[in-house]
Amino acid sequence: MPEVTVPIGPHHPALKEPVNFKVIADGEKIVRLELDLSYNHRGIEKAAEQRDFIRVLPLLERVCGICSHSHSTVFAKGIEEIMQLEVPLRGQYIRTIIAELERMHSHLLWLGVAAHEIGFNTLFMWSWRDRELVQDTLEEMSGNRVHYGMNEVGGVRCDLTPNQVRAALDRLPHLEDRIARYVEMVNDQQTMLLRFKGVGKLTREEVLNYGAVGPTARASGVDYDVRRDDPYLVYGDIPWNVVTDTNCDVYGRTCVRIGELRESASIVRYCLENLPEGPVRANTPKTAPAGEIFSRYEAPRGELAHFIRTNGTNKVERVDIRTPTLANWTSVAMSLVNQNLADIPVIVAAIDPCLSCTSRITLVSSPGGTPGIITFDELRKRGQTRYRGCGP
């Protein structure tokens, strides 16, 4: 059968990470993948050069709707380092609590999305319901569910009251129970084992070669985690473990994320129980001396890096943002080769990108044949139908 080109995408102007795949397939097997990202460039890096440090944080927080705290923390900690500012310990603890809650809500969201992609909608409903516990805690602490706006250069915007701490601690046992249940499920649920195992293989060498980051890399035994390698906030002083796996496939990435859920819950518990007294914010100068800093952060999806250069004023000269999803695309393009067309949704979902981008797909049945458009939902159904009846 001759090779056909299946364009997926190209874009949805309302969504945040539009991606256009051109999948070259031979029958059901994928031969090659070509990428075109980001139809709407928002020019945030350019806009950041025009705002002072107080106004730039809310802007950078809007780079991403899921890891909003990551972007503002990585920038704030970079600027603080240039200013040689000491952030009060309580402020650092609060930043860590928000960061880990964010990781939990992101991973629970991912688990739901991945479950939905394989047609396991019960798990989708469960994990999104449990995610609400995390969201409630975040809303209670910051007043917001998405853009928390907790960070300021020099510390955090608001303190935690004893009531907020108690309410968060009260929610944790239930959450920990649920996470324990997910750990069990990932080991014995046939639907998950069948659709995740052996899908989207990436060996350790491939991960290093293609520069994948975060849970995608850790699922192939590459134990890079910025929280340990380049400690920031309070990660250097509190007990926690880097979660890795050696399955090297979508199943491994699921195990890593569920393991990280457990770690995050224990970090949040530790920080809440050992929250030091004191101020939450330091007095900050308005300007930063000229300098440059390469600030790294472990966002839920992997290593996030901001390259910041200052010029002695109250604005940055340049902020260069490298998001984890961008680093992961090369590995996706490689791990899709030789896989089934029906596995595209789950392999792409396994790096946890903003999936909504692949909302439209044009099917070309044969070269010169009439192209028709199918939706992403139909592609998902195609995958589910294909695997129906494959169970034991």
């Binding site: 874009h11 070509e34 990428l35 075109d36 990202l37 980001s38 139809y39 709407n40 460039h41 020019g43 890096e45 350019k46 380092e81 290093l208 070669n209 293609y210 520069g211 890079y224 390698d229 380049d230 440059e292 800093i293 390469f294 790294r296 290593e303 890096a305 390259f307 250069r309 000269e317 340049r318 260069d320 490298r322 961008l326 680093a327 695309w329 090369t330 490689m334």
Partner: protein, 162 residues
């Protein structure tokens, strides 16, 4: 865990490529020239034991563009290789041959800054959309919006409901 790289070791091994300095712990920066950058990077991947490119950062300095390649390895030290290319004819050798992940970053920089990476297999648009006007690079400091040009189907004062 492998011990961190020391500045002395990096200085010694990278002497022929340029000067090395250490901003703080775990950050070593090597400044080199565009013609040596490919060999310097091969050296960083070999002798210095780095196994991964974190990103390529770009800064517009007015008369030059600065390209900074950040690497990381089991020693957990970020090694940055910096080089400057002139504004008039900005080009540098592509790293995508030695480093597959560089390909996607180079496409992005080509889009936004107009730096040409010679030897890149497919230096196509990745960030900007296909009808973005040619030879306009939005992240350059001297870039100004042209009021008569459409950017991504939109121009100044344009309204869907007009």
């Amino acid at each position: 865990m492998t011990p961190s790289l020391t500045l002395e070791f990096v200085k010694e091994t990278m002497m022929e490529y340029g000067t090395a300095e250490q901003a703080r712990q775990n950050r070593i920066r090597i400044a080199t020239t565009p013609d040596k950058v490919l060999r310097a990077i091969q050296h960083v991947l070999g002798t210095l034991g780095c196994d991964r490119l974190v990103t390529i950062s770009t800064v517009d300095n007015g008369t030059t563009f600065e390209l900074i390649y950040h690497f990381i390895g089991p020693h957990r030290t970020v090694v940055s290789v910096a080089t400057e290319v002139p504004h008039e004819d900005p080009w540098v050798t592509s790293m995508s041959g030695v480093l597959p992940p560089a390909g996607i970053y180079e496409r992005q920089i080509h889009d936004l800054f107009g730096i040409v990476f010679r030897g890149h297999p497919g230096l196509k648009k990745i960030i900007l959309n296909e009808d973005w006007p040619p030879n306009e690079f939005p992240l350059r400091k001297d870039w100004k919006k042209n009021p008569d040009t459409y950017y991504g189907g939109i121009k100044e004062g344009w309204s869907r409901h007009a």
